[in-house]
């Protein structure tokens, strides 16, 4: 049997505006979760290097526990498990203001924060100690060493893995459809439900994700090349 394509379902009726709303929600939730993930990643990454053991243990526990459990479980945990523990007022406010959106943002941000922490830590650890020593020998203060030597190198080393981790976050935002956040995959399914056109609807969603991911990866590869330090970073490809 031949399948009759009918691409017009993507722009007739409400489909177009659904896709657009889905894209906006995906970008909003990914953007906010990304900020949370980077903040948690920096804080926990830094805490794992402090000399006081209990603090280090807390940070290690956070990283290992949150990144080793499926994101889907965290989605359910934050959406169904956490709100009943909140005070009545906060719970009512939350369910009047898109609770599923905030739960998904927490789930994504806290999960990826643990993964981002590993990216940041390995970036800092890969800077040779001699860089630090050479900077001190040149008469820089500790603050200057960090501002002029360590941070600029670390940022460059972190760009490729942090980019791929950020793209993982963007793609993982699709898991939020399980707690009915109306993001891109959710809207794709909605178009399929209303028009019974699975292939057309899924193609539209897939193409949007591909364009986003390939676009961001291309821009970041250019950024990486532009700021590359000759002789320090060699990357195949």
């Amino acid at each position: 049997m031949r399948y009759e394509f009918k691409w017009s379902v993507l722009w007739s009726g409400q489909s177009g505006s659904w896709l657009l709303q889905g894209l906006v929600t995906t970008l909003a939730i990914s953007g906010l979760a990304w900020l949370l993930a980077v903040a948690l990643g920096i804080v926990s990454g830094a805490l794992r290097t402090v000399p006081w053991k209990p603090l280090r243990a807390v940070a290690t526990f956070y990283v290992e526990f949150f990144r080793n459990v499926p994101l889907l479980v965290w989605m359910f945990f934050w959406y169904f498990g956490v709100p009943p523990l909140l005070p009545q007022v906060a719970r009512e406010w939350l369910f009047d203001h898109a609770a599923e959106f905030w739960a998904a943002m927490c789930a994504l941000g806290v999960y990826h924060g643990a993964r981002m922490s590993e990216v940041i830590r390995s970036g800092i650890q890969s800077i040779p100690r001699t860089q630090f020593e050479a900077a001190v020998a040149m008469g820089l203060t500790t603050f200057q060493v960090y501002r002029l030597v360590i941070v600029p190198i670390a940022l460059r080393l972190i760009v490729p893995p942090a980019t791929s981790e950020s793209l993982n976050l963007l793609k993982n935002s699709s898991v939020a459809l399980t707690i009915s956040v109306a993001e891109l995959t959710f809207q794709t399914r909605q178009i399929e439900t209303y028009t019974a056109r699975a292939i057309e609807a899924l193609t539209a969603g897939t193409v949007i994700y591909l364009v986003l991911c390939v676009g961001i990866a291309t821009v970041m590869a250019r950024v990486e090349r532009h700021f590359a330090i000759p002789g320090l970073i060699t990357r195949g490809g």
Binding site: F65, P70, V73, F80, V82, K171, T178, L210, V214, A217
Partner: protein
Amino acid sequence: MLDLAVIVNNFRFLVVQGLLGLGGFTGGTLRLAIPAIVLGFVLGIFVGVARLARARWIRLPATLYVEFFRGVPLVMVIFWIWFIIPQLLRLPIPEYGVALTAFVIFEAAYFGEIVRAGIQSVPRGQVEAATALGLTRAQALRFVVLPQAIRNMVPALVTQMIVLFKDTSLASIIGYVDLTKAAQIVNNREIRPFELYLFIAVVYFVFTYSMSRVAGRFERRLA
């Protein structure tokens, strides 16, 4: 506060069916994860080797395959397989088949990249030495390059296996009864989300964390 009775009373359902899929049940996280890891890795070896092929008509499709699946969410791939296979084969496929197909196809792209990086990490001199000894290209790959490459791949492979193990929870979206779905079913009856989801989080953690610890020891022994 924490009501652990809900865990104790439903332990058999959660662990025997949800996690292991034993005793005539049709679900199970491990029943899905183990074949998905094995088959995904096998397909990934072909993808990785194809990406390094000399012939462009082999290399290009493999590259497109990897780039495509790495740019798309897994949830999307699961929905694709879910809608497409019944259309193509004109017969209903159980959730298990849909989920396994989706995982193998999707994860092969990631395993393929690991295999490619592993092969590229073997110095060129090794291939040249093998050729000088009279081995064919296939023999050099089979006896010289792959054994060394696999050693270099171990850390990344284990990380990917852990990722795949966690990803199997997404099979619950299409109704496959794995550990996550089992917890959902129990929760619909008992309304104890905090205890149930925390419990399965701990179960997943025990598996993934011990996988990474075993891998760490294995890695040190190989090095």
